[in-house]
Symmetry: C2
């Protein structure tokens, strides 16, 4: 059997660990909740100890220190300054969860064949990974698309925002957490068309700012909030209005790999690092 | 004498044409006003006909069609859909004026040795070029940092914005044109500290959004508006406040090549294309 790679989608709510080479060759997969750092990392170590892998890719919630494979300033209790990569005794490729998902969608999913695109997850929080010219954007730290500053019309939406760092940044206005706080309902129970129009407004501003910053061919919007079926067409329409014909805008699409983009992208990160050590 | 390259900074107000290999080897330089497309391009063609150049780099105002070397939807009268690159009979490297300036600052200026940085010019309009992982960001079109959507508190600043496409985008709120319209004075005559604090607020939002989108090590702020000496320290301070310690922010600096960043970067674009055709 061909060489296999390990992948971890290390999320703030759950970890997904898989062994394989791609969507059609997942040889083992396990999901468990994110509890304490020690317990969670130990479960992943135990899972991979049972499999023969050439390398491990980890896509982690962040912000992260890419060089040292650590989670840094997360507000998640107990997880600030956690060493993740150091716990494994195989070569590790470490990146953000959303960069991993972007890589997965680029290899097998909605961005296949494109060289400049973004993956944005709209869930409990909002995060995004960016591929430019075929390569992940890293830089000083890594993109943090969830914290983009966007227009907030307080006469239309008096909600102050839920981000503990920035108040009414994108995540503070448009994450699942923000929806719960503003409307008193989780996203999956929200039926008011005005609520979804407002959500589309904020996500369209995000797409527009991403377009003006990195000019992607495609923006993939994933995460639990995007499961609302009316949302994607609203975001597309409002994005075009906001661009106002100044430049061509990106395709705005849902992920093709669904909930597996992150863990499959982590496997691809491991393969890429093994090919170009 | 070593091979020389040609460079054009094709701006909306003036064109700068130079022959040489870098800041210490500029063998000829001419500046002339941007008039009609035919007349302006003909002056550049005539200038380079007198010099032996291996290739020509052009950094143009935009938006541009990079593939075909054309200016596209500019509101500048007479210039929409102008073929620029096609007028020259040497190999041409064509990019935006601000991408060229970014390349110049990366090779010889404020971003020397860095691999991820941005050059933003704050003048009559606002534009920006982005280098990520050592390479210019292009994508579907190219970055248009001047049109980022940013928060606009109308109780503090009731000005509607001056961008003909987007109203109160970054350029609409913070360009020299916006300053002139809001205050009735050009930037160089503006002395009210409140006006400069407001300008710093908008530019800091731009830096923050650039930081969250591409995580640059450095953001270079150039252009005429940045000649106000109180502005850079205000932008730096406000950027740190807006980031709120979530991630490390970029250095925010002035260009080291001054007004020659664009034309020198164009020369470097020509050299790069000749080395990697």
């Amino acid at each position: 059997m061909a060489l296999a790679y390990g992948g971890i989608e290390a999320g703030g709510t759950k970890w997904v660990c898989a062994v394989g080479t791609g969507p059609d060759d997942v040889r083992a997969l396990v999901t468990f909740p994110t509890t304490t750092p020690d317990e969670t990392v130990a479960r992943a170590v135990a899972f991979f100890a049972e499999h023969d892998i050439a390398a491990l890719g980890i896509g982690s919630f962040g912000p992260v220190d890419l060089k040292h494979g650590r989670i840094t300033t997360t507000p998640k209790p107990g997880w600030a300054n956690t060493d993740v990569a150091g716990a494994f005794d195989v070569p590790v490729a470490f990146d953000t969860d959303v960069n991993a998902a972007a890589v997965g969608e680029g290899r097998w999913g909605a961005a296949r064949g494109l060289d400049t695109f973004c993956y944005v997850t709209v869930g409990t929080g909002i995060g995004g990974g960016v591929v430019s010219g075929g390569r992940l954007v890293h830089g000083l730290v890594h993109p943090e698309l969830g914290h983009l500053a966007i227009p907030h019309d307080r006469t239309r939406d008096p909600f102050d925002g839920s981000c503990p760092f920035h108040g009414d940044c994108l995540e503070g206005l448009a994450s699942g957490t923000a929806l719960q706080h503003r409307w008193g309902l989780p996203a999956e129970e929200l039926t008011d068309p005005g609520a979804w129009a407002l959500e589309a407004e904020y996500l369209a501003y995000a797409v527009v700012n991403i377009a003006f910053a990195v000019s992607p061919q495609c923006v993939i919007l994933g995460g639990g909030v995007m499961k609302e079926p009316t949302l994607l067409p609203l975001v597309r329409a409002r994005t075009l209005e906001l661009l106002a014909g100044y430049v061509a805008g990106p395709e705005v699409v849902l992920p093709a790999l669904g909930d597996r983009a992150g863990v499959l992208g982590a496997i691809e990160l491991a393969r890429l690092q093994s090919s170009n050590p």
